[in-house]
């Protein structure tokens, strides 16, 4: 027992990082509930989904979001604002893709109220899109603080923001699989 006490403590987990992990865990449960709802409503909406979703286009825009996980990792490793900029650009491209998909669906009369498929599709992808937007704001705030503050921003902040961005990306892996791949494959 005494020997255990005297042993030098392992480098402690930073409290901001642990807090971010717990926040991400709670967000994961939040998305899980909506994904479960999507799956539970899948059968009645499947024909609508097959007829109207554009797998190819969305796959291309998804590649932008997936690759932004790599750019944010580089940005975090090098503390480099330019790589943050690249991440934001890729995230914005993804949102534009989402927006154009929404616009296309709207022109053919599919919205949150049109049928069960519209309800579940717009809720799930909309919630994810909102999280991407929040991530973009966090990235922009990090970039602004890094360039403006003479002392820069601590490594923990870089780490926390990039963790959140990875999470937003990981959610899309699930959402894209469930909504797009699950419909066509």
């Amino acid at each position: 027992m005494i020997a255990r006490e005297a042993r030098p403590a392992a480098p402690a987990l930073d409290r901001t990082i642990l807090g971010m992990f717990l926040f991400i865990a709670s967000e994961a449960i939040f998305f899980l509930s909506v994904v479960v709802a999507y799956l539970a409503s899948r059968e009645p909406g499947l024909a609508d989904a097959r007829a109207n979703l554009d797998l190819g286009r969305t796959a291309i825009f998804s590649v932008a979001l997936f690759s932004s996980s790599a750019t944010v990792a580089v940005a975090n490793a090098r503390r480099d604002v330019r790589w943050l900029g690249a991440t934001m650009l890729l995230g914005a491209i993804f949102l534009v893709g989402q927006g154009s998909e929404y616009a296309r669906l709207a022109t053919i009369g599919i919205g949150p109220s049109s049928a069960l498929f519209g309800t579940t599709f717009f809720t799930l992808t909309g919630l994810h899109g909102a999280h991407v937007l929040v991530g973009l704001i966090a990235l922009a705030a990090l970039a602004a603080a890094t360039t403006r503050r003479t002392r820069g921003v601590g490594p923990i902040t870089w780490e926390a923001v990039s963790l959140y961005w990875h999470f937003v990306d990981a959610v899309w892996v699930v959402v894209f699989s469930v909504v797009y791949l699950g419909t066509f494959l």
Binding site: G19, E27, L32, S33, A37, P112
Partner: protein, 542 residues
């Protein structure tokens, strides 16, 4: 020691602006407790109106529409807006003191969680003056909660208020969990944590697992109501049962979120007032973790009557019975702690013993409801209402009062009156049994919950009258407690640092504690650091 409560005398707390901008965990704890007390009073008034309406058959004190709003808001208040802030408030105040930390991990975020919680509660209550309160029950089942059947704005205020309140609760849980995991005093290993802190840790994880599911459900209900969605609309292929699954995935852990911290309070009080360490510390802690895990696997026992398949019915019946095991373990731990102890029957201990007795009744009826045939007969009757009030009033609230009498001297520097405390306890004990015990046989006789009135020839009148009388005894009991608090704040006996000859770190600092909590910390080498300091010849082994 200071005779005037520091949290009142401190510059930050002296003005309204000070309370608005405080980031001190003790002041935020007091704000949370104040919010909890205020909402508990509102929820209590709602229940008194309902009891007055039910006192006699065919009463017309309130109309059915108002009655629906009363039971809905009473449920929402007690389950989410009153007791959670009370418990989180105690945790906010006590956890840093009990683990020897200067504050919580994120003091500013702590203020944000409180204000979000409060704004959420205000949004729910604002509905009363904005076109009608929610009236679809505290669990707002669709299709009743859909726009077609609840066209007023009440359910929308419910959605918005609970979403905001829940965000505050989630942030608060992250804060408490990180504080407990990373900010303990040197030597305070996780295996030496005071049990209230243990239970707070488990509760924080339950909040993180359960509340986001509610948020998800609320978003879906919002989409249905405001964007014309069809999640729960069977005419468009949606499934009302989906809401029930999502809601109870949150709702059952919520019950443990409400009861575990109270169990933690009792686990602090009973050893101190028995003059012994807790019996089977590891079992108390481990059984809490077991309850935490199991609580996520029992949700569909709220749904036996909807026609689950045989496998689901069996599964949720078994898991619901299983959860009685870790709960029963705790009952034995507490009673075994008292056996052979030097018991001091002061008010905190009275409430702690009352907690055990009442919680056992609520727990046993809970097991009976896990028996599917019995559940099918009693579902949506007063039997269930009686069960849940034994757990949440007889359990949680008696536990909270035990904690309130125990820690009030630490928070204010003054003792509460023992004489009034005894009046408070016995009126509460008698009142709650009068109110909630007859519900069991009324329920078995078929009295449905939420019924606005009943015919005289049902024969339910006399027992309903007894229940109503009991509810007003409870109201008197709460008034005695309020009187006790006010009189003590004005001129109660000075408590000193350690009025109960207690064991844990919060009693090593002044009452109330200074803003930085501790000037010096005793070395922590066991679960009872203060005991070790007072009795070096009888130090606990590590």
């Amino acid at each position: 020691m200071s005779a005037v409560p520091l949290w009142v005398a401190r510059p930050a707390g002296a003005s309204a602006a000070g309370w608005l901008r405080t980031v001190d965990h003790k002041e935020i704890g007091v704000l949370y407790i104040g919010m909890g007390v205020a909402l508990f009073a509102l929820g209590g008034i709602e229940s008194l109106v309902m009891r007055a309406q039910l006192a006699t058959p065919n009463a017309r004190l309130v109309d059915p529409e108002l009655y629906d709003q009363l039971f809905t808001v009473h449920g929402v208040t007690m389950m989410l807006l009153a007791v959670v802030p009370l418990l989180v408030g105690f945790a906010n105040y006590l956890v840093p003191l009990m683990i020897g930390a200067p504050d919580v991990a994120y003091p500013r975020l702590n203020a944000l969680s409180f204000w979000l919680s409060l704004v959420g509660a205000i949004v729910v209550y604002f509905s009363w003056i904005a076109g009608g309160a929610p009236d679809a029950g505290w669990f707002s089942y669709p299709p009743l909660a859909e726009r077609a059947f609840a066209p007023g704005p009440g359910v929308d205020y419910y959605i918005l208020g609970l979403a905001v309140n829940g965000a505050g609760t989630i942030i608060g849980a992250i804060n408490l969990a990180v504080t407990i995991l990373l900010m303990r005093a040197p030597g305070l290993r996780i295996s030496r944590l005071p049990l209230f802190v243990w239970m707070t840790l488990v509760t924080s994880f339950l909040i993180l697992g359960a509340y986001p599911a509610l948020s998800g459900g609320l978003v879906m209900l919002f989409v249905d109501r405001q964007l014309g969605g069809h999640f729960f609309d069977p005419t468009a292929g949606g499934q009302p049962l989906l809401w029930q699954h999502v809601f109870w995935f949150f709702g059952h852990p919520e019950v443990y979120i409400l009861v575990l911290p109270a169990m933690g309070m009792v686990s602090e009080v009973i050893p101190v007032f028995s003059g012994k360490p807790i019996f089977g510390y590891r079992f108390v802690a481990a059984s809490s973790v077991a309850i935490g895990f199991l609580s996520f696997s029992v949700w569909a026992h709220h749904m036996f009557a909807v026609g689950l398949n045989e496998f689901e019915t069996l599964l949720f019946s078994v898991t619901s019975m299983l959860i009685a095991i870790p709960t029963g373990v705790k009952i034995f731990n507490w009673t075994a702690t008292m056996i052979g102890g030097r018991i001091r029957l002061l008010t905190p201990m009275l409430f702690a013993i009352g907690f055990i007795a009442m919680f056992v009744i609520g727990g046993l009826t809970g097991v009976s409801l896990a028996v599917v045939p019995l559940d099918l007969q009693t579902t949506d009757t007063y039997y269930v209402v009686g069960h849940l009030h034994y757990v949440l009033f007889g359990g949680t609230m008696l536990g909270v009062f035990a904690g309130a009498y125990y820690w009030f001297p630490k928070m204010t520097g003054r003792l509460l009156s023992e004489r009034l405390g005894r009046w408070h306890f016995w009126t509460a004990f008698v009142g709650l049994n009068l109110t909630f015990l007859p519900m069991h046989w009324l329920g078995v006789q078929g009295m449905a919950r939420r019924m606005w009135t009943y015919a005289a020839d049902t024969g339910w009148g006399p027992w309903n009258f007894v229940e109503t009388a009991g509810a007003f005894v409870l109201a008197v009991s709460m008034a005695i407690f309020a009187l006790n608090v006010v009189r003590s704040l004005r001129g109660g006996a000075i408590a000193g640092d350690d009025p109960w000859d207690a064991f844990t770190l919060e009693w090593t600092t002044t009452s109330p504690p200074p803003p930085e909590n501790f000037r010096t910390l005793p070395a922590v080498t066991s679960r009872r650091p203060l005991w070790d300091r007072k009795h070096p010849e009888m130090r606990d082994a590590s």
